[in-house]
Point group: D3
Chain length 230, copies 6
């Protein structure tokens, strides 16, 4: 239970393909494919618009006000991974700024998800390194307090284990447990296939109560139709 840095996370030869498919499905579809679970709370928001990423989570567990373990995470993170930062209490600081973003981008990291603040947002947007964070704060950090790299941590209300897949876009962030990727991809694909036809029928004006055959449900629930609102 003492402080540590774990160098390796679970990986798979198909990681790159899986990441591509997960980011294309997007957060909403992926979360549906795992029974709505794994979605971070809405307070974890993107600082840019239009970015969509997916990758293995490398986690840094930091003390409030300190980002020592983020620096250490850069030692072990691999291209395509996603940096995930959490703590054992709310993180009031801007734990990640332009210099760190430069470093993680230089190492091919896909993006960062922070249950903490971010700073230098304008510079990071210019750099093209996508970040999801709890808030924006210019408050700096110490680099003095121990923590962990690649220990499980709760971020945005969701458990992230090292090697889980993290999917993030304008709708927020969803975590896919590392052992469920294939199952989730299959279910997401089935959902997307079904929705393609749905969209076309809705564009042509078909009512969703008809499409989903909801009238029997409404009747059974005792919902009455009236002519006029009060």
């Amino acid at each position: 239970m003492g402080y540590y840095v774990a160098r390796r996370i679970p990986r798979d030869p198909r990681d790159q393909e899986w990441a591509a498919r997960l980011s294309q499905f997007g957060v909403a579809t992926v979360s549906e494919a795992q029974f709505k679970t794994g979605i971070m709370l809405p307070r974890i928001r993107p600082i840019q618009q239009g970015a969509a990423i997916a990758g293995r989570a490398v986690t840094a567990v930091c003390a409030p006000g300190d980002n020592l373990m983020v620096h250490v995470a850069l030692e072990v993170i691999q291209p395509g991974d996603v940096l995930v930062v959490g703590s054992w209490a709310p993180m009031p600081n801007g734990v990640f700024g332009e210099l760190l973003a430069t470093g993680f981008k230089a190492h091919g990291v896909a993006g960062a998800v922070l249950d903490a603040g971010v700073r230098d947002t304008e510079a990071i947007r210019r750099l093209g390194f996508p970040v999801w964070a709890d808030h924006i704060s210019a408050v700096g950090n110490t680099k003095e307090i121990p923590g962990w790299v690649n220990r499980a941590v709760t971020v945005g209300g969701v458990l992230v284990q090292p090697g889980d897949f993290v999917v993030a876009d304008d709708d927020g962030v969803v975590v896919v447990p590392r052992d469920s990727v294939e199952e989730v991809l299959a279910r997401a694909q089935a959902r997307v296939d079904k929705e393609a036809g749905t969209r076309q029928r809705f564009e042509r004006g078909e009512l969703s109560v008809d499409f989903y055959n909801l009238h029997p449900v409404l009747a059974q629930l005792g919902i009455e139709y009236r002519e006029e609102a009060e």
Copy 2:
């Protein structure tokens, strides 16, 4: 008091003209014209920038976590109307996504105001269907729990009755009671007429304390002028 769907809301032949004028006046002016009342809390925010709409409210009152009644609302909503979604408790889910947006847009609906979450935000922005919501959440819904269509409901801290006019832009959302539209339009017009000249005088550098003749007010309130700050 049992669950129901009311097919019709109060309407007026001048609705289209009224909606055009209300959206042009905008939220700030319309709210002033009704004694500052009817403005939703700041937590109801647009997911896009620059949209400005107005239209009759069709309300869907849903259970937390369920959007069955939103689907039913599509049966009775008319072109130019605004979908308004509320509940009897906070709505943690993304109650409205791309498929529903496609359906409501296909029926000519002006936009949606949700005391709930929205998802598929990037796709909805691309679709050009304007949405104001409490938060962004990818969490999906059931379609199983009864509620009401076109029952009065509180949204963003403001009562919305079916057929009220809803006006929304980058400043948020204001509700104009259905019986007050003409009175409010008249007062808004008077205000705008007055402000046109004001703006020009402010652009030329006239002080607002002079323009509004505030010095006698300041004197009566006992506000003293000093040379130096402490």
Copy 3:
């Protein structure tokens, strides 16, 4: 302790140069240069993207729901200054709108920082007058309740004294006490000089644990390296 308007704030012949340098350094660097202090809470956010300002604070201390003292502040504010609005309790209204923005812009004011709401946000963005605020609200104001101009006030959790320098950009707002400007500028410059080389080395892939020589720190803290995550 009675209500007053102080006409003059501390100034310096080098104000314009100082403002230029502070806004160029930006909020994150300036705050580091004063030991992380002076940063407003993250709830004070810009309504635009990419603006960066700095200037002397002229403060208006208003009653909740009233903006009389903002109008009075326009009498005493000078080109390049920053309007700062606070209260003795949370300010629920949109205390600042297009007409006031027009007036302050006409007088060459650099921008406004409000521990309150702002309205007419679309128009203010078009006008090009930068604003940082607690929230967006269309709720209007009275002009009837006394307060102060150029009295010290807490805004976004930070004390602002009249004549302090206010620096604001996409990362938020930081306040530099009026007697510390030169000291802070010197420390900020030293930091920026040092960071220039750092950035290049990070771009080339140098690890920050090596650059900052953190391995001895990690060893002393008892952080152990393991091969595998659990």
Copy 4:
């Protein structure tokens, strides 16, 4: 739509009996009896423990920071009524204190529900006048800004019309529309009758899945029983 004071609210000869029964049923039972609707948000909390009241709502609609209309409400309120205070924007002040509590208690008022702050809480508890409020704040008020007495207003996210019944206890506050009291009382009684037997059976250890016959529901939902947790 101009400012007004309405002297009379709808009343009924059975008000006293209805109030007694509603307060005895309590907030949780009454809300169930009206399909979960009418419950104020959890932020409206009691400042005392163990109080339970019910009575007709007399509403005061005040400007933020001002309590003029609360003073006016005392002119028209009757013994057994409940004072309800709301606004068109969040109310940051302590709108109600010991002196007002003394006045309302002297007139036989049952209690107060405030979408605002309360102050002098220790003295009010000693006085024995029950209050539910959004927060505790010592910030005082002006008595200068117009509003309404006995206009409909949203309080704690729920519409309150003058003459509605307000029921409040340690679980919060629920509003019973003035035309629904008898219907709600009947449904609440039925519920209580049913629950009396339930409680006894639960005390003896009967499982609620058996009592409510939930196993067929579980089977239909596809919920599987396993021996071991992961």
Copy 5:
């Protein structure tokens, strides 16, 4: 990944003794003994004062607005266990009330921890069944939506696995991973032994800077002593 109920959680013959010692140490000491981790966010608060419990977690994972799985949890929970309720999105309802408390108490359950609302608080306090919850809400529930019993779930920002020990008192709630109990107990005991002497010395007026020998630390950090505050 489909919905399920796991009947058994990890247990140990020493559970009763461990629970007694953990609840006696209390939340603050236990959390220190596991490197500050495992503490739920401050929003999870007791509805009573002075209760202190510890026991194995039996988890119910419910849909927002539904408490079906809480009823099912009663089938598998054992005397001395702690009921833990979470969801995949915020739970706006009062998921637990007097009837359920009666049932769980009848089965010897130690208490309940809810990332949700609680209702019937006065009755539950009278019953003597301790509850920690996110908020108080009278809003009722459906019993229709599937979930899990004894699946891992995040509650108050902390992962709870079935069979983890949950410790709760007036300071909040801490979770001890099921495999760490002995290690944590040992470390907690060591800490308590050390603190006993500390308390006596502090009572006699010894300064903590002397007791902890902090003056060398202060000197190394460059903290200067001055005679006068500014």
Copy 6:
């Protein structure tokens, strides 16, 4: 601007008498006597009921997650003083617990006001040392990061300078600037003298609109009396 500990704060021979009178007046009256200013935000709440204190502020400015400077404050604090703890960013930890409370009580300190968390609340209540805090958290601290003792700091949204008087009771906390004590006491006394008679007249049923002569105000504001609510 470097880190420091200031040993002395401004004091006055009449401090003990002033403290007694301020705590007797209480937070609501004292704040009125200084134009409503100086009241901390409602989030700073007492952990006990019925305590009322006043005393000179000794401030500890700590890093988030660290309480080193609280220990140092005990070196310089005097009997009757109030400990005030703040930071340059939100403080997520329980910065003050039983051991520290034991130490400060042993030195005759009147109480503590924390813009941070408190822990060991049950033990501190038993000890009889009154505390006002932002929240309750069992999360512990490091003692490693520099800060200041007796530097000005914003706490609960209000500036506290070393030597200011802090008044705290069930209504929260108000800060009296050190140079204003006599002026504030005089105004508070005048207010209390006036209120004594008021209370009696309100107890006898006199209406506050009559007592304050508000009918002319109502007439001038154009508030109309009607017979019936809508």
